[in-house]
């Protein structure tokens, strides 16, 4: 078996572990944050550990999603998306590094 195939299996196992954690948690689902008119909507989300949040930019101007030391998207042009799976509980304050007056919060329980 090649190392690539081994790595793929490892990744699958890891993904499965995350999904299992998600399935055992009550009402765990993947959620979306829309970027419209230079705002994150909803501005605050409360989620379970293991939830994946996807940001989608629907503005005519690029944005980026950054939580200092936690996650950082590439620059999202119109209709681009960025996803992050939250594996640890805590408060994740984030903002747009291009337009810092745009702020949001993900609370992970």
């Amino acid at each position: 078996m090649t190392s690539v195939a081994l790595r793929n299996i490892c990744i699958r196992v890891a993904v499965l572990a995350v999904m299992t954690a998600c399935m055992t948690a009550a009402r765990c689902e993947d959620l979306a944050v829309m970027i419209d008119n230079f705002t994150f909507e909803p501005a605050q989300l409360t989620i379970k550990v293991g939830t994946t949040v996807t940001w989608k930019n629907r503005d005519d101007i690029p944005h980026a999603v950054v939580s200092a030391g936690k996650f950082r998207s590439k620059t999202l042009d119109t209709d681009d998306s960025y996803s992050f799976t939250f594996t640890s509980p805590g408060d994740y304050a984030y903002f747009c590094s291009l337009h810092p007056h745009m702020t949001g919060m993900i609370k992970v329980e």
Partner: protein, 316 residues
């Protein structure tokens, strides 16, 4: 009668100096500002401005060319930049140089910078750039500095002198903080203080940066968190002119000896503060677009300390 016909009486400069925040307004077609003895005077609309004979230093400001933008507000930003450069080439008096106050590109792609350079170079003028936030979003954040950063400090700030005027290009689009506005940072402020130290207070100063250095509309992030620190260092200078872009519309304010001015974009207009749900690109009727895009020329006449800013739309 224009909105700019404020009474800056030359007979009583103290009256003008006392007035603060009095000239914040939006422009129609254009306006001429001049400065005598450090006191700005609104002289009239663009016709009288064009009648003035520029005998000293003339330079141009273009801004926010956003090459790469292709949305309904203007699907042809290359075309409108070409029109702006065409106007510059047609000027009867060749300007000494040009400044570009940032957002050269829309997404910091090499091809966008290439297109901008190809068009802007047709003006055959030296161009002094400062970056906008759209010029620092390539993955490695290196293209702007590779292309425009030679001889600059930090993330791209610098100063130079021309015809007795001291020019300072600042960067306020880097290391932005959550919930905040534009940012200069401690290192750049220390450099600015040092750059101004020992300089004669009679030296006319022109500061240019992308985001307005004064607070225009914080709800939309239109201001610079530590801009007041920079302006503190400029206190005492008789003539200070601050030129910005970013907000894609002409706006002016006079505060003591400082004249603030923002230039139009060559790409697309943005709404007046609070006039729309967001500061995003403003779609207007096709025949109105070129009236909202444009360039600015700035004239400095040595001796009488006159400095005039003339905004010219691409059309109308």
């Amino acid at each position: 009668m224009s909105a700019f016909d404020h009474d800056h009486s030359q007979d009583d400069p103290r009256l003008s100096r006392r007035k603060v925040l009095e000239c914040m307004t939006w422009a129609g077609t254009g306006v001429l500002w001049s400065i005598s003895g450090g006191v700005p005077h609104a002289l009239g609309l663009i016709d009288s401005a064009q009648a003035a004979e520029p005998t000293g230093l003339t330079f141009l400001q273009i801004s926010d060319s956003h090459i790469g933008f292709d949305k309904p507000a203007n699907p042809n930003v290359i075309g409108t930049l070409e029109e702006a450069i065409g106007r510059i080439k047609a000027m009867p008096v060749k300007p000494s140089f040009m400044i570009h106050t940032g957002d050269i590109s829309h997404l910091s792609k090499a091809s966008e910078f290439d297109d901008a350079d190809r068009i802007i170079s047709q003006a055959r003028l030296d161009v002094h750039y400062v970056p906008g936030e759209h010029d620092f979003i390539d993955e490695e954040v290196k293209l702007y500095r590779e292309r425009y950063g030679r001889g600059t400090k930090g993330s791209g700030w610098y100063s130079f002198d021309a015809s007795g005027v001291h020019f300072i290009g600042l960067v306020n689009v880097v290391d932005l903080k959550a919930g905040g506005l534009g940012n200069l940072g401690a290192e750049q402020l220390a450099w600015l203080e040092d750059d101004l130290r020992g300089r004669s207070k009679s030296t006319p100063i022109v500061v240019f940066a992308h985001i307005p250095l004064w607070t225009v509309y914080p709800t939309w992030g239109w201001g610079t968190e530590d801009g007041a620190r920079a302006l503190d260092y400029l206190k005492g200078f008789g003539s200070v002119t601050v030129l910005n872009g970013h907000i894609h519309q002409v706006m002016q304010k006079v505060e003591g000896n400082v004249t603030f001015h923002t230039a139009r974009s060559t790409a697309f207009p943005q709404p007046a503060p609070g006039a729309a749900p967001s500061p995003g690109p403003m779609k207007v009727a096709d025949d109105k677009l070129r009236g909202l895009l444009g360039i600015a020329s700035i004239i400095f006449k040595p001796g009488d300390e006159r400095l005039a800013i003339i905004d010219t739309p691409l059309q109308g």
